[in-house]
Subunit: 478 residues, 2 copies
Amino acid sequence: MAEEDQGALPSKGDFSAWYNELLWRAEIMDVRYPVKGLYVWYPFGFSLRRNVYDLLRLLLDRDHQEALFPLLIPEHELAKEAEHIKGFEDEVYWVTHGGLSPLDVKLALRPTSECAIYPMYALWVRSHADLPLKIYQIVNTFRYETKHTRPLIRLREITSFKEAHTVHTTWEDAERQVGEAIALYREFYEKLCVPVIISRRPEWDKFPGADYTMAVDTVMPDGRTLQIGTVHHLGDHFSKTFQITYEDVAGEQRFAHQTCYGISERSIAALISMHGDDRGLILPPDPAPVQVVVIPITIGKRKDEVSAEAAGIERELAGAGFRVKVDSRDIRPGAKYYYWEMRGVPLRLEVGPRDIDAGQVTAVTRLGEKSQVARDALVAGVTGCLASFAATLKERAEAHVRTHIRVSRSMDEVLAAVGDGVTLVPWCGSRECADLIEEKTRAAVLGTDVRSAYLVDVSGPCVACGKQGSTALVGRSY
Amino acid sequence: MAEEDQGALPSKGDFSAWYNELLWRAEIMDVRYPVKGLYVWYPFGFSLRRNVYDLLRLLLDRDHQEALFPLLIPEHELAKEAEHIKGFEDEVYWVTHGGLSPLDVKLALRPTSECAIYPMYALWVRSHADLPLKIYQIVNTFRYETKHTRPLIRLREITSFKEAHTVHTTWEDAERQVGEAIALYREFYEKLCVPVIISRRPEWDKFPGADYTMAVDTVMPDGRTLQIGTVHHLGDHFSKTFQITYEDVAGEQRFAHQTCYGISERSIAALISMHGDDRGLILPPDPAPVQVVVIPITIGKRKDEVSAEAAGIERELAGAGFRVKVDSRDIRPGAKYYYWEMRGVPLRLEVGPRDIDAGQVTAVTRLGEKSQVARDALVAGVTGCLASFAATLKERAEAHVRTHIRVSRSMDEVLAAVGDGVTLVPWCGSRECADLIEEKTRAAVLGTDVRSAYLVDVSGPCVACGKQGSTALVGRSY
């Protein structure tokens, strides 16, 4: 539905222009909806969204259950947890009227669902035997963003918020769940071939109402970080507010401990930004809406034979579980290549008379690696091509992240590093020094306890005050 | 999470009490959310919802594409189509504030998405080659209901609205789509074993802004009808309002013709109400979250052997694609039967030492039909049991609907019939006579052009005025 177009994308070097243009050219999002910060998922974009969230569901369904809670939260419930409401009151949308009449109680569009879910948990949780309780939902949530909005990244309607909410007997068991959630998110991003950096957000940047917040970040092409997941240890703050208690083995009533963790369509922003190139999307096989496209190279009189061969290939691959499409449109092959490259299809199979005669198919990955696949070992050949393609994508993405992390031991080094990447600095842990770093470099202390394969320990004198500091991640964020 | 409970349900004869109690006992919905008309899907209920909507998606994906449009509609877009806004203005929720500030433009929570989608269609549709366009989305929609609300049936947040919106070159092609949509909905309800009656709603009851509305109704246990799907021919009303035009083959700009059609979680209300009995849910195999439950009958020393046998059966059935669960909880078998009957599991397999010795499994359907399945032909045996169970469910449901449709040729007969069913009457077609019928019987003229396997033509003198009339469906509705 986007116009057929053969023009070039802006270079990915101009990331912002490239990103915006790619989103509509590849038919991911239409930004022309008549309200700021709200966007439309094109069918192709939505099929990518379906696949990404199916992957996420598959991981969660191992030991979580999916449920669904209402969008509308009455004012008195949202206001119950003091820190929580303070964190969100500036960005909550309020429903004040039903039809032509004012409502008795104002209703908030959920910015996140603690205050919709926990009153129910107070009813559901009775005994230690009910715990741990692990439930998630995938819903739309709302933030009245006053900052610059950006499709998939900064939205007024987050259309695809996966939020999990768990309940445990002890603080320690909740902490164990924090670890499991991080492992789950790592596994999820592995499937998207997106490398992540885990860190613990500074106190002032944690989720409102949490004991602490662990964040999952990635490094975008321009070197800015994108937060693509968070895991919060809620301690017993919310259970005290919402009276979520359980009877322990000894028959005593105790407050439960909780965690929550979320992922939004930023996962798709990361996926698109990390892998794409100047010719369009590049999608890993797992989430790709079309994994294999078959292009019949029909020349002269062997047209029917080639069409039949292409159809046979499609049948065989579909039967083996691949998402495959034959493009038999009456346009020249070059236009088809352009079209499917823009949409990130991992593998293109070309089949012409010469391929038929040679008993083979020509396979070209979205990264341009060309090989011949024996027709009588098609499934194995395609499986191999896709696996090696995914491995290459992962390596490319890891190389990107690795080369965009530097070590800085002075403020000048920080300033130089954050222009096109993130940096590890020794930091004393004080708010004053974090503010000073921000003032001088326009980059924030993102986290401590940094966990990533790419990182090293840089303990030493704090870049701001010179006192002994330990490793912190510093960068500019979306 | 609902309390373990061995008490009896209210009798299904007291339908309303039965329905409300079943919803929480079978863990479908929790009605205790602190806002009227908003309900919570329990995990078990949501897994039923997932299966039902996966079935619907599978049918739609044949030739529709899924997309996603924003929830919030600016006031000026909603107000564009005069009849449409008139139809909805009393029940629209309005967002008026973002954070602490009033918004410049009031935003409606979509009551349905014509006014969110069609401004985009105006941009997307250019040429006859873009048509037909068939897109759907599955979303939450909102109605400020002032009537008595009821879970799954009359809601303020409809959590699961599947709405399809199609665009065509001609009125006739849109009419053809109306037929296809009806066929698709019939097929969907076949899978749920829910019989339907198709009819054309009277003029005054059509969708606001439509040329005409076809409705899909079923007959609930108490004889009242439930509308479980609608298909609207929109003509060119909306395309003129939203400027959805295409260039025809001759190069002329023309207004497009449109249809839209929807199904909500009422489909699940129908499914539950139609089949359930005094012991709980009865679910057809296609949507059932658990299709087969295996109960090990462990007696004395052969416990390990029985457990191993149950695990082997689970493995084999799961491998064949069934949703199967072994219930190995340490409670007596009777309590397990009760538990799984309440949750509507189509087939229970009992396996004990005697079954092992005889090389068989004891199979009991949710309707109580008992049979022996040979262990070495397990998959075939289970497949057969489930198919015959589904056929029986369908017959039972059809018998229910058939026996709840009567023919009435006088107002007295109408009054007698609508106490516990629907009725076919000759009706002249005038609004006055429809009003008279409603006044005297508290039942409405639901539709004409009635299509159903159970119905006959009853043309004759109008029950109200005596003039020549044709067949109309009359009943009391939810």
